[in-house]
Structure formats: structure tokens, C-alpha cells
Symmetry: C2
Subunit: 190 residues, 2 copies
């Protein structure tokens, strides 16, 4: 079965919902899977070519000249199931915010504070987006089978965003306290 190519999974998955062009595929991944997945053109087109070679998707040169719509085939669906069942390959963590905070003593309290504030605003924005998705009426009847699964990922986003906000508030309080105790130390010295 060769190695599990995660891009293949995402592409086949998206095409299992509906056929589309490579361009639309990228847009769809961006808009719909955006909060937990990312693909670039440089990945999508070669992957589509490879999937076509393996008869897992079928190109239908249509819609307009120079563009083609890709549809998943029966064997493509089978392949998707197999790919989804493979073990998750964990991504090694690389959190730039935490790295900066960990060495925050060198960065300074003020810079830390603004980093945390930025993170908080970001989480707030994301949380709003998830709420919007949840209350979006689109596709109520279409994709009725898929929707509950999709909502699981939205819920995960909401929980994560809420946790980020709560952490940020706590962190801001802690930074204030560090500030205060630093002032106190200075006071005592003078």
C-alpha cells in the first residue's frame, strides 16, 4: 500500500463529497478544512495526477477549455477508506508562541504580554468563526450524513479556542503579577 500520503487522503476525501477542479479543491480545503488542514497547489496537482494514473479519480475535461473536473471512482472510495483507517502520523510540535514565552525573561514582560494578547484575539476570532459555521443553515439536507461528523471538528475548534482564551487571561494575570513583584523588588532595593 506504499506509505500513507496524507495529501491523498485529504484530496480523495474532498472529492468524495463532490467532484471539482484542482483549483476548487484548494479553495474547498481552505474554507472547509482550513482550521485543521492545509494543502498548497504544489501538492494538489501532482497528487491529482498520481491519483488519476492509479484510476482512483477520473478527469472529466469539461466546464470549460483548459480546466477539468475530477471525480472519485469506486476504487478511489475504497482507497479512501483504507487511508482513513491507517494510523495517525503525529506531527512533531513546533509552537512559536510557547517557545517565545518559555524564554520570556530574555524577551521582556511587555513583549510577552502583547504576544499573549495577540493569541487571545486570534482565539476569539476563531471562536466566532466556529460559531458562525455551526449556525450556518447551508447544507442542512444535502450531506445530512456527513454533517454530524463535520460538527465534531467544529466542536473541537470551539473547545480549543475557548481553552486558548481562558489560558490567555490566566497568563495575562500571571504577567501582571510578575510585573508587580519585579516592582516590589526594585522598591525594596531603593
Amino acid at each position: 500500500m506504499a506509505r500513507a500520503n496524507q495529501t491523498e487522503t485529504a484530496v480523495l476525501g474532498a472529492l468524495s463529497v463532490e467532484p471539482m477542479t484542482g483549483y476548487a479543491l484548494r479553495e474547498a480545503i481552505r474554507n472547509v478544512l482550513g482550521h485543521f488542514w492545509n494543502e498548497s497547489f504544489g501538492q494538489i496537482y501532482p497528487t491529482l495526477a498520481e491519483l488519476e494514473r492509479q484510476r482512483l479519480v477520473k478527469r472529466r475535461g469539461s466546464s470549460r477549455p483548459g480546466s477539468s473536473t475530477f471525480a472519485i471512482t469506486a476504487s478511489g472510495r475504497a482507497r479512501l477508506k483504507a487511508l482513513l483507517a491507517q494510523p495517525i502520523q503525529p506531527v512533531p510540535p513546533r509552537n512559536g508562541l510557547m517557545l517565545r514565552l518559555f524564554f520570556g525573561r530574555h524577551l521582556g514582560l511587555e513583549a510577552c504580554r502583547s504576544l499573549v494578547l495577540e493569541a487571545r484575539a486570534d482565539a476569539e476570532r476563531r471562536h466566532g468563526q466556529y460559531e458562525a459555521i455551526r449556525h450556518e443553515p447551508e447544507l442542512e439536507e444535502d450531506h445530512a450524513e456527513d454533517r454530524p461528523f463535520w460538527l465534531l471538528t467544529v466542536s473541537a475548534g470551539e473547545h480549543t479556542a475557548r481553552a486558548a482564551i481562558a489560558w490567555a487571561d490566566e497568563a495575562l494575570a500571571a504577567l501582571d503579577e510578575m510585573d508587580a513583584s519585579l516592582d516590589a523588588r526594585k522598591e525594596r532595593r531603593s
Copy 2:
């Protein structure tokens, strides 16, 4: 200033705490920054060589033959401050669990449930680790200046882990409900 190499930041940061060998550096990053950062030997050694060339760290061939301890220099500290102040470069998200759940209809309810259970157990384990770190008395006096910053990252880990647990419970309930409504539909048809 060339491009911001994140590995440089991590290495200089770790060496700002105390001098150590490349090997120890990797262990330290693993054990201490492990929940939000990762570096492999293949990154660390070339980075150390480059930092040495730029006089940002100083090699002291000591401890034993064939090994050398690296210490951060004054200009290394300055560089660290500059690196920390640079904008965070966001990592494009790639969450294998969410990808599988999103296409959960193809994967099947049972497989989804076990994925969520696994994720829950993982979060629980992480949460325990954070609690252990927090109540670890080590380095109370040493690194007193750094500790409050370090605790910020621990707190972030705790919040994230708790959120993951809460989400998992919600997701499991949702999966149960999907199961039930699927059964009901079957019932009606028979």
C-alpha cells in the same frame, strides 16, 4: 539578519539556561520543551556548527574526549533576544485526527469512537504530566527568574489537555447519538 531560523532560537534559548553538549541539548529540548517543541540531531549539530562559526556559542572541548560543551556568548544572548522578538511564523495546520473524523462517514462509527477514545487517553496522560511538572519542587531557587515563564507554557498545556478531554467526551456522546439515530432509521425501514 537572514531568515529567522527557529532551531537557532531553541538552541540558543536552551544554552542560555546552561551550557551543555549537543546530545544533552537534544535531551533537554525533549524533556523540557517537549510538549511544544521538537528538534532532531540532524538539525542540532549543523545549527551548533553554524552558531559557533558566528561566535554566538563557544565550544569548550572538555568533560571527556570526543565530546564538547557549548556555552552561549554575549553576542549569542543578544542574538537570542533579537530572534525572540521576531514575528511568530505560523505552522500550517495538519491534524490527522480531525481529517479522519471529518470523513468519518467513510471510516465508520466504531473506528471514529476508538480514535476519540485514544485522543482522550492521550490528553489525560498529558494532563497528568503537566500536573507533575507543576508540583515538581526542582529548581525552586535555581532559575527563579525563569520559572514563572516556564509555568505559562505548562498552564497552556493543561488548558489544551483539559479542552481535549472535554471535547472527547462531547464527541463520544455525539457518536452514541449518531449510532442511535442510525439504528432508529434501520428500525423504521424493517
